[in-house]
């Protein structure tokens, strides 16, 4: 009783929070996508989730940001149980999610996209300051601030989507396939950005098929196969693992 009250009384510890999944089962209707996933991301850490198509990576992120409710298992962030938190309250708790395919609002300008990202009352108060920070991070966005988001290149759109997610001043950033559909040179730019973001101290959980790139950015990674954790470890260990190399790194 008192423990439950405690976690609610201090939901936003300034030092950031640990994301902790334990025994998560989830799916869509009758289709089960995740079978007992346990995963942990410490504050300041960058963690990757890799695996083939259909392994349940996107589902995992959707569970964390509340778009899908787990059927079993627990989900905690900073000690707080998120099982009953409505998804739209998560940005205010410090969880930002850059969804698969970016999902920008193509008919809004870059700056309007950032504005939607700053919708929660707490974020509105800091809009100008955070916007300027995003523009520092992505100077191109500043040049294009009045351009419709849909008219930009894929890489620019990915940066805009990350910028939009940063507008709520998150403690953890969830990135879903940030490299999907981008040219190799752009992929490199995107991962450089991710590295800079985490160097500023932000916790990052990144889901990727581009295993080689992601292992260069993250500290640790989980390998997901058909909804289960098949392997986990430090990125250097995984990169060296022959089985992983064979399956995901093309054996080079």
């Amino acid at each position: 009783m008192s423990a439950a009250l405690d976690t609610r009384a201090a939901p936003q510890s300034p030092s950031g929070g640990t994301l902790e999944l334990s025994g998560i089962h989830a799916g869509y209707g009758d289709f089960q996508a995740l079978f007992g996933i346990s995963l942990r991301v410490e504050p300041g850490e960058a963690v990757g989730v890799v695996g083939p198509n259909g392994a349940g990576k996107t589902t995992l992120l959707r569970v964390i940001s509340g778009l899908i409710r787990p059927t079993a298992g627990t989900l905690r962030f900073g000690g707080q149980d998120l099982a009953r938190t409505p998804p739209h309250q998560l940005p205010a708790l410090g969880i930002a999610h850059v969804p698969e395919n970016r999902r920008l609002f193509p008919h809004l300008t870059v700056e309007e996209n950032l504005k939607v990202g700053a919708f929660s009352p707490a974020a509105r108060a800091h809009f100008a300051e955070r916007r300027d920070r995003v523009y520092d991070l992505f100077p191109k966005m500043k040049q294009r601030r009045h351009q419709l988001a849909g008219t930009m290149s894929g890489g620019e759109q990915q940066m805009c989507a990350i910028g939009r997610a940063l507008m709520c001043a998150p403690r953890i950033l969830l990135l879903d396939e940030p490299s999907a559909g981008l040219a190799p040179i752009v992929v490199k730019q995107v991962f450089d950005l991710v590295r800079r973001i985490r160097e500023e101290g932000l916790t990052v959980l990144i889901v990727e098929q581009n295993v080689a790139q992601v292992l260069r950015v993250v500290d640790r990674a989980y390998v997901l196969e058909t909804g289960r954790v098949a392997a986990e470890g430090r990125s250097s260990e995984l990169a060296a693992d022959p089985a992983i190399r064979r399956s995901y790194l093309g054996g080079h």
């Binding site: 739209h88 940005p91 969804p99 609002f105 008919h107 996209n113 974020a123 709520c168």
Partner: protein
Amino acid sequence: MDPFLLEAIVNGILLGGVFALPALGLNLVFGVVDVVWLCYAELVMVGMYAVWFLYTQLGWPLPLAFGACLPVVALLGVLLHLLVVRPLLAAPPINQVLATGGVLFLLQGAMTLIFRTDFRSLGVDMPPMEVGEIFVSGTKLAAFCAALLGAAVLWAFLKFTYVGTAIRAIARDREVMPLMGVDPQRIYLIASAVGGALAGLAACLLVVQLDVHPFVGLSFGPITFMICVMGGLGNMLGGFLAAFLMGIIVSVGGFWGTTEFSYVVAFGFFIVTIFARPRGLFAR
């Protein structure tokens, strides 16, 4: 130019202003909530009764009655959303349409019970203006200006506020909204209130031009739907422009042909639009 033709064109533009507000409101709600309020013209009708009642029966000053009409109809929009639309959000569109269609008859019936079928008039009239050889109704011109003003305020709301920006965003991608910290249910509610307020404003502008009776929605409801579809359902700017286009078609068509013929032209144009540009005349 033939002064009478010019008068017909001017009247068409003024008429477009009258159609524009309900078209905007209907499009706003459809764009955000993805449900067609079939009873939209009846919300306007209730607003017209509200103004008539406050002004002629309770003796309120007219501006005050107008001022009260907006929140009253906005509240009606909120209730419509909470009681009828929200429980059916996951239902097939046909159920939603049938339900709001049911509200249409409910409102007609309720107003018939309360006010009977009598035609009610405010008895307010502004003097006509004679510009050169053409006559312009002062009432219509005032209504037109108020409609433009209302549209401008709506535009500013959608363009510059957080909620307005979220409304424009949700019209394109509702699933991603929670990730932005936006509660879609709240946006639906706000859009319903704004849609209701627009119906209230339309009521203020119409009540000075048309008599109020429980079936007055028939006069402008169907054409409002046509305008929305022509402009592209959910496309606010498209609907706004289509309202003026329709006003001019009806007016000039009636001038060259007959009043009846003008509606044939308007409907013909509508049908051609549906086939030629099913996403609306102004779809990008």
